[in-house]
């Protein structure tokens, strides 16, 4: 954590894809302490010094980030949600706490389901190379190559790393699938 002239603050925080509520709560607490989110780059969060404010943060996932972006942001803006920043397909919205309008981005299970299904699709596509590499880099597959070279140990380490990433990805997919299942079982629309 660094404070540059006390007007900016950078934090490194890691939130997994299934922890968006926790992430939003953390951002709300930061705003209460006078730190307003400005930018998110991976795990690096940049905050700006502002008057402490009670706000609500929500993260939204939009599948196609380019198409109809203007209309999307306009609708959210009119509904009282300001887009603070985005990180790929993730959009960070905030609005004053306790304002008269609807406090949630999604107000029925049908649209919540659509959103999480889009998120799952994107995660599976993004994860494909990781799974592919964990097979390709599997030592027996590479055996003819490893035997005669000195890169064997290095490849083994790389494979282990890829396996760890694949495992974390699998957990994330499992969590999102669980959310989808729960929504599907809910008899309410």
């Amino acid at each position: 954590m660094t404070d540059n002239a006390r007007s900016m603050k950078r934090c490194f925080r890691l939130f997994w894809a299934w922890q968006e509520e926790r992430e939003a709560q953390w951002l709300q607490q930061m705003a209460l302490r006078g730190w307003s989110l400005k930018e998110v780059q991976g795990i690096r969060y940049t905050f700006e010094r502002r008057v402490p404010e009670k706000v609500v943060y929500r993260l939204d996932f939009k599948e196609s980030a380019t198409g109809e972006l203007e209309e999307y942001l306009q609708l959210y803006r009119e509904a009282g949600w300001e887009c603070v920043t985005r990180l790929g397909n993730w959009f960070y919205f905030k609005r004053p706490a306790g304002a008269g309008t609807e406090a949630e981005l999604y107000t029925d299970n049908a649209s919540r389901l659509e959103r999480y299904r889009a998120q799952l699709r994107m995660m599976l596509i993004a994860g494909l190379p990781v799974y592919l590499f964990s097979v390709v880099l599997y030592p027996p597959v590479l055996y003819p190559l490893i035997v005669r070279s000195s890169v064997g140990g290095w490849l083994r380490t790389l494979h282990l790393l890829v396996l760890v990433v694949a495992a974390i990805h699998a957990v994330a997919v499992g969590r999102i699938v669980a959310i989808i299942r729960r929504l599907e079982r809910d008899p309410r629309e």
């Binding site: 999307y72 306009q74 959210y76 981005l105 999604y106 107000t107 029925d108 049908a110 649209s111 659509e114």
Partner: protein, 108 residues
Amino acid sequence: MTPLTEASYYILISLIEPLHGYAAMQKVERLSHGRVRLGPGTLYGALRNLQAAGLIKPVGDTSEKSRRKVYAITERGRKVIVEEIARLEEMVAHGKMLLASGGATDDR
């Protein structure tokens, strides 16, 4: 066509008069005396799905500072509303009938 969600149904009937998305949402809220409140994510999704199904279409509106997209119901959309109303009326009638009769159907 599968039944419309409540959000989609209300957005669809509100677009019998051409409106931009947020105005449609406000109309739905007024119409239902605040019972049906749509979050922007739900609204955006409903507009996209209704458009993809050909039930609404964007209409050129140059009078407004045309950054906002104005939508209107299509002929197909009108047909779906009529069918949907018939389905909803039937659902209400069945519910009332079984509540009143203590669960017995009158067809035996």
